[in-house]
Symmetry: C2
Subunit: 159 residues, 2 copies
């Protein structure tokens, strides 16, 4: 499903650009930055939250600070690409808390996962649970992150 919501004007985009960087910015300051009153800013934010343009408001936690210093990418290739199997894999991968992100992709792999773990032993245990116990994984390739050069969910905004 694409996106039905009404088009965003330059005010909305300017507001998003700010919230995307720091959503604790007071509406008064946002208003000054975009030349709008605080209530106007607030109405636009609420609308964008309701229509799903703003998917959430979250604190970003440093994984290393909570015992998950290792980030790993995994390319997963399934045995069967039947829709039923795909869906089962989606559900299983999503259910694992260590799986931070899960994408179903085209190309030489079927899924790409972003995983955070405490150590390689934890990763090894996770692969056993996710890939070996399930009999639908043909193979997977592991990439261990040595440097999280740039991390975020920031989307470039027009204007």
């Amino acid at each position: 499903m694409p996106f039905s919501p009404p088009a965003l004007d330059s005010f909305d985009l300017a507001i998003l650009a700010i919230l995307q960087r720091d959503n604790t910015t007071p509406q008064r300051l946002i208003g000054e930055a975009v030349n709008l009153s605080a209530p106007a800013v607030q109405r636009r934010i609420k609308r964008m939250e309701q229509t799903g343009v703003i998917a959430g408001n979250v604190a970003v936690v440093e994984p290393a600070a909570v015992g998950h210093p290792i980030t790993i990418f995994v390319e997963v290739e399934l045995e069967s690409e039947r829709a039923e199997m795909i869906d089962a894999a989606k559900r299983q991968f999503s259910a694992a808390p260590e799986v931070q992100q899960c994408y179903y992709v085209t190309g030489e792999a079927d899924f790409i996962l972003v995983i955070t773990v405490a150590d390689m032993a934890a990763y090894e245990a996770l692969t056993r649970k996710l890939f070996f116990d399930s009999n639908n994984v043909r193979k997977f390739r592991t990439f261990v992150a040595m440097d999280r050069v740039k991390v975020g969910l920031t989307v470039p905004l027009p204007g």
Copy 2:
């Protein structure tokens, strides 16, 4: 650099679990949930922000809503792995707004990028800028996301 900050107790972890899901939750409610007064919650949050446990507070924007409906993964392999070249690549990749995430990894690739673009033409243009114009990219593999099954920066918390 690993992480020096003081250990987090179960209160901190409980607070993080909430903020990670919704950082607009009133401190009063957080206090009720974790059995602490609002000021206590606020002191702990401030401390975690200052020590970097909380890396940021952001609104998550739906890419499709702002004209970037396509998410792409790219594995990049460099010609030279001299430290100087690695650093140059890090800087160049990070500088591109379309590059949402950039990781320097071990294994059969050197970098993994997560990119959001409006259409394949935009991606093609980006590859030209990032990979071809730079003479240090040996090859790259592209994976187009058909389904963003699970997206986020949520870290699993002990306890």
